[in-house]
């Protein structure tokens, strides 16, 4: 009787799973299509692309002519993401290595729980922490004129990205079979030598994926950077200058843009730029991974 039921339901379940898989692809394409459709009327000629990418003058409500230059915003996004990754990657990978290789039992469990807790903090709370807690600390330690700036935003972004890098990185390290470790030990390697001579090369794909996810989180982050970076349109000359990111611009201005008007459409073009940035990061990482693969196969 049970066998009969299972036989009947098997194709249905298969079908359901197939649908879920396809829906993921369709969803991504759907989002891209929607953003592209809203942005298209501005892209076909109306938007001066040279000015768009090379001018720091973002004045969408200027009279008589608005100016749509995203150079300052682009530099803002790239600089805050870059600086955040500079801090988050060593911290995150180091923590992943510690949890996976150097800690044991109780310590490991506590650390994993705490790091997952860090990941659960909403981004607006992170922004609040940057604005209210980190800001005054930065003013006191560096003598900066204002506490919300590039440095503040990067630190907060780094703290937001670390849990992802640790989680995925730790999984990647755990996936390396113990036989590798045992073989290295038998050859007389120290624990640190095992990590960077054996485990890092073996888990490269997974660790790269961990870093990628962290970068993706950082590029797309909106609320935290809106509050912690000072939201100022300028190209930073020092770490203590307030900046503004592409994502924060979209969040702050989409509400006032009337549907179908140029300002509205240019904000969707900015959305496309963020899409493309993330795509470039993923593509580069894919190529690097393939390169490593070929190198190892050769």
């Amino acid at each position: 009787m049970l066998q009969l039921v299972l036989d009947r339901t098997e194709p249905a379940v298969e079908w359901l799973i197939r649908l879920c898989g396809w829906s993921a692809i369709l969803l991504v394409f759907g989002i891209f299509f929607f953003v592209f459709r809203e942005a298209l009327p501005m892209l076909s000629g109306k938007l001066n692309l040279t000015e768009f990418f090379t001018s720091p003058q973002w004045r969408p409500t200027a009279e008589p002519e608005p100016h749509y230059g995203i150079l300052a915003l682009l530099v803002g996004t790239l600089s805050v993401t870059g600086l955040a990754m500079l801090m988050a990657v060593p911290l995150g990978l180091g923590a992943a290595v510690y949890i996976s290789e150097f800690s044991s039992g109780r310590m490991r469990e506590i650390l994993k729980v705490l790091i997952e807790l860090l990941a659960a903090i909403p981004s607006v709370v992170w922004g609040f922490i940057g604005y209210m807690v980190l800001g005054p600390i930065i003013i006191r330690l560096t003598g900066a004129p204002v506490g919300v700036n590039l440095l503040n935003g990067s630190i907060i972004l780094a703290l937001m990205s670390v849990p992802i890098i640790v989680s995925v990185g730790e999984d990647a390290l755990k996936a390396v079979p113990d036989s590798y470790r045992e073989a290295a030990l038998s050859l007389g390697a120290s624990r640190w030598e095992i990590v960077y001579r054996v485990l890092f090369p073996a888990a490269k794909n997974g660790l790269l994926a961990a870093v990628l996810l962290g970068v993706g989180r950082a590029i797309g982050e909106t609320m935290a950077v809106l509050m912690a970076t000072g939201h100022a349109i300028q190209i930073p000359h020092s770490l203590l200058d307030p900046i503004r990111t592409l994502t924060a611009t979209i969040a702050a201005e989409l509400g006032e843009a009337v549907q179908g008007e140029p300002h509205y459409r240019v904000l969707f073009v900015i959305g496309l730029v963020v899409f493309v940035l993330t795509f470039i990061v993923n593509l580069t990482a894919d190529l690097v991974v393939k390169g490593i693969h070929n190198e190892r196969a050769a």
Binding site: P145, V146, G255
Partner: protein, 287 residues
């Protein structure tokens, strides 16, 4: 209190649209406390009425009006010609403007800042594009008292009516803001940042003062006498506070009955009483 909160929540869940029960007022962050006060007092005397208030900035309110998502837009600046055109084309109605009060736009500095008064010309040089004043020492202030010589300009985002009004009143129609100011989301945020940053300067409604900041007297010209942002000075037509702006409500075409009732109430004694209580200047017959 629980009933109004519950009904507001229900309305938010159902969606704020003209077809839903109640009246929607959306827009100016400067006026959001005022609108909240109106909603609560109106509901106290008209228990069956539901008034939904949201902020987001004058630009957001007007965009909502144009898109037909909200019946009344609150604004701390006049509607631009382009916006009037859009209301005509999208809503097929003429926008109607109601002045519901006046507000003095104050310039805030940190309480430790010895500066007492500033002229509109100097303000334009601080905030305006190409303006040459970038350091407190250029205004005659000893930077050691302020922790840093750089003037940190705090401004609003470009959806804000306050942002647009300040630009017109201080820099004039042809000059735009200098880029690189810290663009805050709301009126309170501007003053809060100035209170935490000794070398900052910012502009916001006079009702948003808090401990830790002080308001500058404004003079029309460099050599002139500075006038303080108070309700009395904002009321004066001649020789009063130079940056006083009307607080406005807009509808697309003549308001429907529920909205009309609310508007009449706001322009009458009970609504203007709320205006006075919150520190703004009421309209003419109620001064």
């Amino acid at each position: 209190m629980g009933w109004s909160a519950g009904s507001l929540l229900l309305c938010v869940m159902v969606g704020c649209s003209p077809a839903a029960e109640g009246v929607c007022v959306e827009g100016s962050d400067t006026m959001v406390n005022l609108a909240q006060g109106w909603a609560e007092n109106y509901h106290a005397t008209h228990p069956e009425a539901i008034v939904q208030i949201s902020g987001g900035g004058t630009g957001v309110g007007i965009a909502s009006l144009i898109d037909g998502n909200c019946e009344i837009a609150s604004a701390s600046r006049k509607m631009k010609d382009k916006e009037v055109e859009r209301v005509r084309t999208k809503r097929h109605e003429e926008p109607m403007e109601y002045i519901v009060g006046y507000d003095a736009l104050a310039v805030y500095v940190h309480k430790d800042n010895p500066l007492d008064s500033i002229s509109i010309e100097e303000l334009a040089e601080v905030y305006g594009e190409g303006g040459r004043i970038t350091r407190w020492s250029q205004l005659g202030i000893d930077p050691k008292l302020l922790h840093n010589d750089t003037i940190i300009r705090v401004s609003r985002q470009n959806s804000s009516g306050t942002y647009v009004y300040f630009r017109e009143a201080v820099m004039g129609k042809t000059r735009d803001y200098k880029l690189g100011s810290i663009d805050q989301n709301g009126s309170v945020d501007v003053v809060a940042l100035v209170a935490n940053t000794p070398s900052a300067i910012g502009y916001s409604g006079m009702g948003y003062s808090m401990p830790g900041v002080k308001m500058l007297k404004i003079s029309k010209h460099k050599a002139g006498v500075g006038i303080a942002p108070t309700v009395e000075n904002a009321k004066k037509r001649e020789g009063g506070y130079p940056i006083t702006r009307p607080l406005l409500l807009y509808t697309a075409g003549p308001p429907k009955e529920k909205a009309k009732q609310l508007l009449d109430w706001i322009l009458d004694k009970p609504g203007q009483k709320v205006v006075v209580e919150l520190g703004y200047v009421p309209v003419a017959p109620y001064e």
